[in-house]
Subunit: 328 residues, 2 copies
């Protein structure tokens, strides 16, 4: 029998979940919930209905796992504990600093109600975290490096769009090749923010706007750009649509560490992602975690879990025997 999945929230991520479910033969989409008027929400899967978010609880017996696709700032801190009362849930909560608090809130509710809730599924937090953990477990004497990009930062693109005279914008975070090379050499460099990443901005200015002032304002924006080498390229709306429509991302997690009686040998562990679509890849990780969440629930586990707690085999639609025979 298929794992029956509900999607809560139908933006880029929700749509990515829908696409990922189509690729996983052991799972099926049974309902989409939205805060918008269901009549205005067009989904891709034939025969699946869209309901108002508040109706979800009425469908709890038809759903094995509910995937929460809201934002980390205001949606998930409320939604994940709320829905963990009635559902096995998975979210992609990605505010790193608030994970312990979110975990505690979700864990209390999930335990009380006998449910499993997987939080912070995705790639960072998620697969990048997992690779930091494995590399730390293997090489206790070492140093971690995480680089992001080349990829679109939604938050930084939004910040540019708020600058006066900007009609549209896209921002790419780009890891610095020289920094990557230094890390890979085993030199364990100390790297400043500026040395690790550059920021490339593609900006559509409003007609008559002062481009010099816009560029200066972007480059000096505290937190977002001031600590980076930032380049600002002015382009037309047509060029933006044509050349910068995608949502690519990716990055590198590297640990450089020593072994040997006198720590005489060095090792480099590197994990990297090159993603055409950030939301679709994130969704693909979440869907694998949703499978694992249902398995853990069926085994009688309860409470909040992260990718750190999931036996890897639980993520895969392949039997334990086949995994050992073909992937080990």
């Amino acid at each position: 029998m298929s794992i029956r999945v509900g999607i809560m929230g139908y933006g880029n991520l929700g749509r990515g979940i829908e696409c990922a479910l189509k690729q996983n033969s052991d799972m099926e989409l049974v309902a989409v919930f939205s805060r918008r008027d269901p009549a205005t929400v067009k989904i891709l899967t034939e025969g699946v209905k869209v309901y108002k978010a508040e109706e979800a609880v009425n469908h709890k017996d038809e759903i094995d796992v509910l995937i929460l696709c809201g934002g980390s700032a205001t949606d998930l801190p409320v939604q994940t504990p709320e829905f963990a009362k009635n559902f096995t849930v998975v979210d992609s909560f990605d505010t790193h600093a608030r994970i312990p608090e979110h975990f505690a809130n979700v864990d209390a509710v999930a335990k009380e109600n006998g449910n499993v809730a997987v939080i912070s599924a995705g790639w960072d937090p998620g697969m990048f975290s997992l690779n930091r953990l494995y590399a730390n477990a293997i090489l206790p004497d070492g140093k971690d490096y995480t680089f992001w990009g080349k990829g679109v930062s939604q938050g930084h693109s939004d910040a540019i769009r708020r600058v006066e005279g900007v009609a549209n914008a896209k921002q790419y975070t780009v890891p610095v090749d020289a920094a990557l090379a230094a890390v890979r050499s085993g030199a364990n460099p100390e790297l400043s923010t500026r040395e690790k990443h550059t920021r490339e901005c593609y900006v559509v200015a409003e007609e008559g706007a002062d481009k010099e002032r816009i560029a200066a304002e972007i480059k000096s924006m505290p937190n977002y750009f001031a600590d980076y080498d930032t380049t600002v390229n002015f382009i037309t709306e047509e060029e933006l649509k044509k050349n910068h429509a995608g949502i690519p991302h990716g990055g590198f997690v590297i640990r450089s560490g020593k072994t040997g009686w006198n720590l005489e040998n060095n090792h480099i562990i590197e994990y990297s992602l090159k993603l055409d679509s950030n939301p679709e890849f994130t969704a693909s990780v979440i869907v694998a975690c949703a499978r694992a969440a249902v398995r853990m629930k069926n085994e009688g586990m309860k409470g909040c879990k992260t990718i750190f707690d999931i036996p890897p085999a639980y993520l895969c639609n392949i039997s334990a025997e086949d995994l050992r025979a073909h992937l080990l």
Copy 2:
């Protein structure tokens, strides 16, 4: 209280385990067992005794986990089931084709005696396998590629040494850059054995030996070299000692896969290792698995396990809270 570890077999791998234990403050070496005369086995750790292999069972109450450092061809198929009767054990069984059989043998004994036995710990099988699994779970529509090297193949070096007129030899397996680039481009190429790796041989010839005949014999050796572009370099014993004394290795696991409603987006997941010392890195993975094995045993689990079954957090000497706060 520390996890008390015994080492069975003191070659390169056993010595690597000893070094790794020194780096893990929650673990301590309590005994080394060898088939050699204990008086002839000099270990690095002060105050720890070396015993005959057959005495191990007399020390079972002093040992939380016994790490088996024998070879996969003849040692481990016998040793792992044998010691799983009385110990929590970890091995690095690496004959991929015989893993299902080894698993079944070990599982039966470990279950019957209430022990946990982790098999095939290391990097391939081990971390490479794990990365194949995660990447398959995330991207069901895709293609796996594994490249090895640049690194020393012990088996191939041995094969060269058996050629008449060869005094000594070292063989490196080298991934082909063009093949790596093609895979990373997302082109999903079909690659022949010859296209993926080359083989570099450094050979010390005996005095008066026919070097042309030796080179021809190496290059045409079936299974080992005939299917590869092989280069043979003749050097002196001094050069071999000076420039080829290490046991480096490494490699790349790459999955290229598609997502999207019409599979329109491509993603590349890459994991790579660059290791100064193959046995020390392997040992470091094994030691992390030994920690996990003891935790699983303490939780009442039993039977044979692989890295696929181990919740990642169990591998780490870091609390679940700290992992979530700092690595997630």
